[in-house]
Point group: D4
Chain length 152, copies 8
């Protein structure tokens, strides 16, 4: 049963986050990838977020571009930690996505990482740090990963 839920708004966003999925595999973290649109299908997003905890999910990563409501909407429906990845946009270059994700109102946090693929990779690592708080194996894997980075 996966501890990590990953949500993207469209199949087209998958290549941007693929390197994050590779990192999760290296860290041996099981995840479930879902494609859900906050705007076109809010009911599926509500249902996903409302049931995530009881399914055993402990952290959610959501990547979105432009108005980028997906992470914030998920956060509104769950008490699990939500990590938001602002995806680049063709004109505003992801500044729109960044502001829409990072400037959440006091009361409902989203943990925002950098724009695009580097951010997605860091979202994977941040989820490892959070899950590692409880799961010793993930913590150990993450520490080895960081050690290898330093030696590279």
């Amino acid at each position: 049963m996966p501890l990590l839920g990953i949500v993207i708004g469209s199949k087209n966003d998958e290549p941007l986050i693929q390197p994050a999925l590779d990192i999760l595999q290296q860290l041996n973290i099981k995840y479930e990838l879902s494609i859900l649109s906050a705007h076109r299908n809010p009911d599926k997003v509500r249902e996903y977020a409302s049931k995530a905890k009881e399914k055993g999910i402990e952290v959610i990563i959501a990547a979105a571009g432009a108005a980028a409501h997906l992470p914030g909407v998920l956060a509104s429906w769950t008490t699990l930690p939500v990590i938001g990845v602002p995806l680049p946009t063709s004109e505003l270059k992801g500044i729109d996505s960044l502001y829409s994700i990072v400037q959440m109102p006091a009361g409902v946090p989203v943990a925002c990482v950098g724009i695009g693929t580097p951010g997605a990779k860091n979202a994977a690592l941040l989820s490892a740090q959070i899950l590692g708080t409880k799961h010793k194996e993930i913590k150990d894997n993450y520490e080895k990963y960081k050690q290898k980075l330093a030696e590279a």
Copy 2:
């Protein structure tokens, strides 16, 4: 029964939109003002938007600041036209609010107006234009209003 629903995220935002309420009164447009948070209470927002049409509401105005998901979340739950008013924020000056409202993904439109009180006033007038498409009295009142502006 009001034709126009106005939603703000917090009682604190009311003074910013008061001049818009004054314009609605001048145009003799009945409205219903609600305070609902997209992030703190998504279920109430879902319920509001889902039932707006059957209550007779034909246009929704939503004002919000920062990540400013309120107009987009309302638009995700209804097929009524939603007008979004980006409210100013203390640091990013409402650019965050603007980007979060105006950059909606293709498929779910929000009609965005300018930042702050001038935008709120224009939201009122835009709602009059939209309602005026169907309601002749509102159209006439709006045309008289514009005529007076030109003469002022």
Copy 3:
């Protein structure tokens, strides 16, 4: 007789809005497409806007880039609702177009959508929502369109 007038400043802008025209066709909304420059030929724009209502037009969509005065100038000459689409520009990426369209002074509203083609598509959908206030068939078509989006 079309209910919707679409205005662009140059033939070159047509490909950017073509996907919006496709949506209008799907929704069975008749439109009239005109190419008019607010700066090079203000008199034609004045004439267009002044006569739109009596020709039966109920909503205007105007797409423009850079100083992007077209939507605002049309709005100055008519009381019909005007939807503005900020087109991308090669250097400022449409931020110039966005600010020039969305920051209209209080009194003369323009309904602004997102930058570029996603915005143009939403302009088409917003026009359907506005026309749907009065025309039941358009409302029904729009509701079916949104339903299909959710199921896609």
Copy 4:
């Protein structure tokens, strides 16, 4: 008969350009100050711009904020040189005004100066340089002014 026409959109903008009027007085340049709104009363703006040349006006200065269409609209209706002064706005700080004025499409130029009162003062000096091309007394006055600046 004044050689210079100055147009502002609202009485409220007058204090921002007063220091420019003082410079014009020092340079002994007669001007005519008009308050005209491009959006609320486009017909008066059209009329003003269309008749400016035959009244003897040789240069127009227009100051405006936010969507700031006034200089561009004037330029669309006349072949006289138009100087645009972007006025500060409460949230976007005049960046909106700047982009709306400076990013005119090829074909219809506006001579843009800096944001706010320093820009307005430079608009006055620029009008002196332009008028000085033809009027020797104004050229001489401007040269003396610049000389004094250097010595100050």
Copy 5:
């Protein structure tokens, strides 16, 4: 022994994060507040981060303004999750702080929240979500907090 370490760069930043400390108290989360400068005293920061884990700290919150290296430098020295709060700056309004914190290179994540006090409050809540992954009492307290928000 506190589970949460909070680091600010200067005593002057304390009032900005005080509302976050109040939330932590409500949630009954013990924390340790330290004042350490990444630039003026990098060795103390290194020492703090290197020893945090063995002291029992499980999450670090760091608030900083301008070049705002503090969260990233802490993250470079530890494998604990680090939450970064971008503080407002007098000229660039915290955009500098935001970019410096959120745009971490792939490999070393920082969980960024919004600019200023709303962000600081969300940092407190995010730390509760992360600690709640392991500590059931904190999870329960956070869920009650969110419930109360919804009812407010």
Copy 6:
């Protein structure tokens, strides 16, 4: 003898302004094109600007990118009107050039046009408007040009 001096900082900038040179030819305005760097060879710039008036030059156009001091430095050494064209830059997209040109301090004006080639074309037209103040043939040519634009 040319009435118009055009200055660029580098041979590489010539293609960006070529369309402006074509317009000048259409308007039958003689010009002199010089390549001078404000930073690498300030003395040549000083000499050029100091002698421009006595050579018969009545207007100067200067195009520059990045820190873009060329128009302002020319303006500091002459009382002739200087038109500044902000050239695009690879990273900041000409926003750097725009701010460096348009934000001149009160006392020494530069007439700024839009970024890049559209701006360069408008610089040519603005120079025609300024020269047309005195030279009837140029005024007539410019008016015919604008007439043709309207008919195109």
Copy 7:
């Protein structure tokens, strides 16, 4: 004889850099403060920069706002290292100053520090580092200063 020349464009800028002067006094670095305008009096700036080296000056600090040409113009006339301090401006908040100073073209460097008084203080410290390359006493004083900072 001072080793350091400080130039500001206007007496009004002096309070902004006063804390930098205090640091120089603490470090026992003699300086000469001049008020010179790059735009209003370019000849004095040329003369100052051309003669600085022979007067014994080894580093120049120049603070300026808006188009902020002063550091770049000084750098064009001398081979001494020039440190530029971007001063805040009322609307663009010193972003204009920053871009105008930092984006110097390849070939003529300016060493840019942060916006406003914190930047001015760092300009003083950077001048100490540069002078310290040659002057052992200044190096020692700077190292003691940094030591004290760390201990504060």
Copy 8:
């Protein structure tokens, strides 16, 4: 023994700074190029900066992108002058790098140059100016270089 240390965060950044290395060769300045990551290997950066002075290094150049902590972290560990080169990033175009480098807090200066390769070239020239304060041959070489630029 090199007087100049150059540090980049990744082998990938080398092509961006290669033209700076060419200038250093022309100026006959020996340098040492190191690849060190502030985030992945802070201990190596600490060690490098702490030992630079005793190895004979007198100036450090550090180039970095995005959160771009490298120059500031080096500056925190040494009293040598540090020149920071903001590298371009794929979405934020190096504005993130620029703000992270230039907005250092008062007390720990970094000398920032322009974004990307033009900035890197100026960093080389600035290092020549700084080293030239003490080393007459470098000063002479730099002055010849600038002379040649003026003649080119």
